[in-house]
Subunit: 223 residues, 4 copies
């Protein structure tokens, strides 16, 4: 008897499970490793309080990378929830996305270390912003590829699809603006990156609130 | 055909799955990264035994953070077990909670390093205590939001709900007392934080023992 | 309608799932963090090859801790597979076990660093052996508690239960012998710890081979 | 009543689940820890830009190890998807594979550090290449053992089995060539290792594209 979609051992679903487990692992580890970048060692004659205040770029970089990875994870889990199955190319696009997510702690450290050092600040902040932008772009590519390849569940309405597509796109422009801003005011650019992550976190919420009632409507008030 | 709760691909359940996987990842990584904070390098003329004894603040801070994260994880998994589904706001409250959990290794290191250094000890211990308290508060907020938003499974009795609500609250007062104590006796405050974590770990057990028979009663002795 | 075992949202199973996810996370992270302990920096005038050879205690300690955690994980996953459900006390015994597993990278580093330094070697090796023994003991306690509390699945035959109980116990004596040996020959003791881990890994295999046919017999050749 | 395959608590499936969770954890952590190897500290009078460019061996080693682990993970998840169940020997082969995966960050650091230092480069690059080759070999052993032991799902056609077997093998020869190349041109060998990983990533895709239509044909357009 051939396996069917209803069968829990049916291949494509299995595959999505493993894709999600591995991705969740990389997202969770990258987001938690960020803390290793923060370290405070008071210089001679300096109190801990003062040293903690001086370490503000570490906190800013930590928060920015944390909420960006958080926003990427939310987008990723929304996309993967809309997926019926994965295919080989999707798995590879996902691997490239994880490559960037796993790399993020490095430019985060650069920003924390160099954001207040004359001259080097521009390089650190620009590299960081470009990576953040590329990560968001890759999440968008992941979704658009899934659409093109017909991997999306067919119980997702065109309105839902259009909504998610729209939500994943416009922030790219915001990154371009923030990166250019960073050439003049590096610290402000990092604040802008953090704001973008927070902004991304808010509208995705709206997508859900709009979609939930529609999809649960047919099951009535059973819940 | 509309998806139903019985269907494994039904959305809300899927979502809780992914929320749990990501949260478990962050909790597990943060709790395991704590060990990197412990390091012992005997000074010239000092034996390893002596150096190991001198490193007691590291062990105290490790145990305190480990059991606090353990208690938070237990509370978190209890809450998520009572959930029927997640919603966008819950996911974001959860992200803020994970932000704090992921950050915890940093103040843990501060306490280990500065708890026996005159003057700086108060800052380290107070910051640490405030973060621990905020983490417990956020777990409580997560639960109360789930209640307000109607995300809790409808087969959970009002008594069970009230019990969990009660259990998640009172420790906040204990933290306030311990933090104030820390302004005078920093080391004692850390011992108090550890005791609170252990205290939290015990009563949650009671909740379960009280609830289990009730909920499994209808299925009889089938198991 | 009361939830039943067939229902995926039935509580006890859900709970074991989360216990396993969190434990797998801690085991996987602890086993992978071990590698951070290995570092080789050739001194002036020394080639990389020579420096790599001199670092043998790091490899020995890495292999010993890796295969011990591996053996603990196998034992843990066997125990959890025999479980019908978890209870609050089991979750806490498990947390204490994970406390030890998460701490293991620290004594591993001590052994790697001090195993060839006169005098300190005994302290490092003894502490390490005691922790390894305690971890195995805790795994055994976890299983015995599950038995006492009636948490084991009722389709597991008494013979299977007796077999697993027997397999989890005798190695404790081997650890006592190895720890005493370590007071005289520290390096040999570490080799003995590694051998015990490998020994534990082999017999557990036998348990499975004995049990598999029995339990799959009733389903015939359906697969 | 005996447990059947349809029952979620049926043993063999449960076991594969846990094997996958632990393996996904180790793969995900090893791949994410790699980033800790990259660190840039400009020397006196050197700008950040220059220091970043000089750190190219770190990026090369990071990318090589990342995509090799990625390729191993893809192969591993393909193998595990074809598995009906695990057995004790398979679990141990898997543990040895994970031993190597967890160890990989160490030779990666060696390559990053010594690839441009006269004399030591050959040792670092050769050790690295040998480990990469052994890891691929172990993945192949895992699959061949599963075949021999009859652990593969019986709905996988002989053509699919032959295809996967073929895909997992030939790259070994490529590693031998690259390792020998490394004795003369160390940097080129690392580039070759990276190319092999990318090559491995591409054909596995083809396996899937070939197999998918066949296996999903019987379910028609039901979804």
């Amino acid at each position: 008897m051939p396996k069917t979609k209803k069968d829990p051992s049916y291949r494509p679903f299995q595959r999505t499970t493993r894709l999600e487990a591995f991705s969740d692992g990389v997202f969770a580890i990258a987001i938690t490793l960020l803390v290793l970048e923060i370290s405070v060692s008071p210089e001679a004659g300096q109190g801990l309080g003062e040293a903690l205040l001086e370490a503000w770029p570490s906190y800013l970089a930590y928060a920015t990378s944390f909420f960006t990875i958080g926003a990427l994870w939310l987008a990723h889990s929304t996309v993967s929830e809309y997926l019926d199955r994965a295919d080989p190319i999707l798995l590879r696009i996902n691997l490239v996305l994880l490559f960037g997510v796993g790399f993020l702690p490095f430019p985060t450290t650069l920003v924390a270390e160099f954001v207040d050092s004359e001259g080097d600040e521009r390089i650190a902040v620009t590299l960081y912003g470009v990576l953040l932008m590329v990560l968001l772009l890759l999440t968008s590519v992941l979704w658009r590829y899934a659409l093109t390849a017909g991997l999306v569940r067919d119980d997702i309405s065109p309105a839902e699809v259009a909504e998610l597509t729209k939500r994943l796109s416009p922030t790219l422009l915001l990154y371009v603006v923030a990166i250019i801003l960073g050439l003049v005011f590096p610290v402000l650019a990092v604040v802008a990156y953090l704001s973008i992550a927070v902004l991304v976190l808010i509208p995705v919420a709206t997508v859900y609130r709009v979609l939930r009632p529609k999809s649960s409507a047919p099951t009535g008030t059973s819940d």
